[in-house]
Symmetry: C2
């Protein structure tokens, strides 16, 4: 008998673990029964490799022959198989196979033949070899304590690399100390929603078109979402400007079509501000005093226009005047094909704008990496919401992305992806001109998707025709906020993600698209 | 003038991005001013590499000479440097250096000379080369769509590999469909707290000793934590058994010392159960009708004893009778040094016990990978809490861990780590016997930490002496719940994490420890 099951020689380290508790009388009998039961009940799946008899004997503190005999019994009974070189395994039997995983709760891609759903880049072009090279360099260089619990804001290597990159490429006023790494945009939104709620904010302005998943997250954190009107220039921020607050809006003489009577401006100075009283006749074009606004200034999702320059200035003005925060969702700011790059709104006022970026469009959603550049007054609050819950992201991917940025591989990947996506966009526009001349593509100066304007009243029928062809596209109405305020005719349109298909699938997807268009 | 800044030849893909908006009159002057301002304001940090004049010219749609002249002006002014082979960079200047990152909000390791804080494995022994090998194999084999948004429960490859491993090594009744991957234990606890709260549970039993971070998370999700008493057998579950519910507790004749008058048992059948009325004279030894219990059955943290076999059965009985859930925190179940492995409580009733495991002790906390094995009735609720917020973990680490498990590298790593930690534990016990014979080490049958029993009243002075020596250890009282119920004398003890130091630092840490002991 060995004193303890781990006292074995270091070559024991080559074994594998098996939890088994021999039962009943007699060691051999007890072990055999326990093993048989583990196989019969399905706990040990067919094909599972068992430890060698020597290893298990040491682990259980019994004689090796006892284990070998027990294995032999079960091989004879057909529960196990023993083959030279592959050891002892649980026999394959016609047992109930594990059920296939259920489809995810929300996004069910289904067996689409042609996937033009917006929201995903071309996953086939993920730079696997470059990424692995960066991972090797990053992990080799990492100090041991990088593998520990660490800073809830994320690894300093990545925050420093991002600060440099965002300042250079997106005009963001960045400082590694004010960057927090998170698991993608929705994680950031959840944290910011919690922070806003704790500050007493109960209402947030959003755009009339966007992703319901984002509004849901804000709602879960206790905020009400109020859409800003959409007009022919894009999102109209006039209603924000009309929010009361000292001094009255003077710089921008734009007359709001709906002068608002809102209540006290919420913000840090009113941490326990009572929720705004219901207005006597709530109308969808009226905003309560919101304490924050979520915008996609570089490339409105999904409409595709940038926020008008006058409105950029005006919304920052509003935030200063009312002590509010702007959440800038820069989801695809890296992909602009026109000559005039749209810099980040955050550069106008880093103390009022939270810049939100993600690797989901530039690299792959599966990385689950995003970043926030925060006003100094917000950093600690976000870290406090995140830290105790310890939802930092895996450090290995963080270190790898830092190396990827540092070595220039990120820039190279982006520039090559940009050329490829631009080619697709041009092919889309050409194909439409030739095969569906009544359909106009808009919002194509940037990003990975286009909005195809359809003849009025045809959106639903086109979406149905596409579904019939197993072509994944989305009707624009899917993205309309329930309280959307439109000062333009309600548009009928398709949102087409031309970044999604792999290169070899693109031509077929484009052809299928043209066939379902009027 | 070029039509669009992305129309360039594919070699343009080798450039880097720079966001710059020329201002004022004259192209050269405007560009120079904008670049100078970007450097002066600190947006472009010293050392930042600028795009080649050719790349920037194409990007801005202006003549290459204009950019080259502008660069030359700024080099002459000292804002930029140009060196053959390293391109044009922002000059190093005596500017305000970016502040060093602030210390993380909660865990401040500080400059310890000897780190024996519990909670972390030896990070120096993280199997970097093996992990990179697995990462290469995993990423090479992954289908493209693995890089997409995916299932909120995590990658099927990892769930399948874990199901096999946990069944074999920990006696868990596992099924890939009932496993949810998360970002470590605290993330799991947060999700489960939300699910319990949504089910109407307001009270949860915890142990008298544990981590306040865990209690905090439960409190944040709206649950009240109630400690179970600690006696000389460990956590006493008798108070749970005494909770009312049909049928009355018969199987275990244990007479509770404090018969309880609790309210209706919460659970799925009482989704909106009103919170229990305050008992007339609340006493710390009385529990309200809790709907869940958080336990560390294999190795109580930090006391170190396993849950007594009778109590294991009793607590499962209680959960069945009252339709409650047990959360089994199996944080270091892989590290047992005695002959009798303690299997997972979950094996006793997979429909009542949530099994919670983590890679933080077996590999490294920085991976941020944990897993839950859930009762079938809870899977969808957890996925719903997690999915819309999309806090999945990075798929690359998930795929790598799956490969690590599949190839046997995980078993090999664990077995070799186990031998190493066991050697340290033995050295600790020997050193104590020799140099501090009044101090007894307990809880050492398993895990990565030991509890050193001190003479009554000496805990604080020993902790202070350790701090003086820059030796990180923790007094046991740090882990006591504010409402702890002890039927034993309040123990004075140190909690010593012998897994934490690197191999080369271990002997010094052990020596420093012996020097501060009485």
């Amino acid at each position: 008998m060995v004193d303890s099951w781990a006292t074995s020689a270091s070559r024991q380290a080559l074994g594998i673990d098996l939890h088994i508790e021999p039962t009943g009388s007699g060691l051999r009998r007890g072990l055999t029964d326990a093993l048989r039961e583990a196989v019969r009940s399905g706990r040990l799946a067919p094909g599972t490799r068992l430890p060698s008899s020597r290893t298990l004997a040491v682990d259980l503190g019994i004689a090796r022959n006892t284990v070998a005999d027990s294995y032999a019994d079960l091989v004879a009974e057909g529960w196990l198989t023993a083959r030279q070189g592959s050891g002892t395994r649980v026999a394959e039997r016609p047992v109930e196979a594990p059920r296939p995983p259920r489809a995810p709760a929300r996004r069910t891609p289904g067996p689409l033949r042609h996937d033009l759903e917006p929201g995903s880049p071309d996953l086939a072009s993920f730079p696997r070899a470059e990424w692995l090279k960066a991972a090797r360099r990053a992990l080799s260089a990492a100090p041991n304590d990088a593998l520990g619990y660490g800073d809830p804001r994320g690894r300093p290597e990545l925050r420093t690399a991002l600060a440099g990159y965002l300042a250079r490429a997106r005009g963001v006023h960045a400082d590694p100390d004010r960057i927090v790494i998170c698991a993608g945009f929705v994680h950031a939104l959840r944290l910011l929603g919690e922070v806003l709620h704790r500050r007493g904010v109960r209402d947030i302005a959003v755009e009339s078109y966007g992703l319901d998943a984002h509004w849901d997250i804000l709602t879960r954190t206790g905020l009400r979402t109020h859409p800003l009107p959409l007009d022919d220039l894009g999102t109209n921020t006039a209603e924000l400007e009309a929010c009361p607050g000292p001094p009255p809006p003077a710089r921008h003489a734009r007359t709001p079509t709906n002068p608002l009577t809102a209540l006290s401006p919420p913000g840090p100075s009113h941490p326990s501000a009572s929720p705004p009283a219901p207005s006597p006749a709530p109308s969808p074009s009226r905003l309560p005093a919101v304490g924050a606004a979520l915008l996609t200034p570089a490339h409105q999702f999904p409409i595709g226009v940038p926020l008008h320059p006058d409105r950029r200035a005006a919304v920052v003005d509003w935030a200063r005047r009312t002590d509010s925060l702007i959440l800038e969702d820069d989801y695809d700011g890296e992909f602009r094909y026109d000559r005039q790059p749209v810099g980040a709104l955050q550069g106008l006022d880093p103390d009022r704008v939270v810049y939100l970026g993600t690797a989901s469009k530039s690299l792959a959603p599966g990385l689950r990496l995003g970043w926030m550049v925060l006003p100094e007054s917000v950093v600690q609050e976000v870290a406090d919401a995140k830290g105790p819950s310890d939802w930092s992201c895996g450090v290995l991917d963080q270190l790898t992305l830092a190396e990827f940025l540092h070595s220039g591989a990120y820039d190279r990947h982006l520039r090559s992806a940009r050329l490829r996506y631009r080619r697709r966009r041009d092919q889309l526009v050409e194909a439409l001109a030739e095969r569906a001349p009544t359909v106009r593509a808009t919002g194509i100066a940037a990003g990975l998707h286009a909005v195809l304007q359809l003849p009025p009243g045809t959106e639903q029928s086109v979406v149905r025709a596409a579904a019939w062809q197993s072509l994944g596209v989305t009707g624009l109405s899917t993205y309309r906020h329930p309280g959307a305020v439109l000062s333009v005719p309600r548009p009928d349109a398709l949102v087409v993600g031309y970044g999604t298909p792999a290169d070899h699938a693109w031509a077929g997807a484009l052809d299928a698209l043209c066939r379902v268009l009027p």
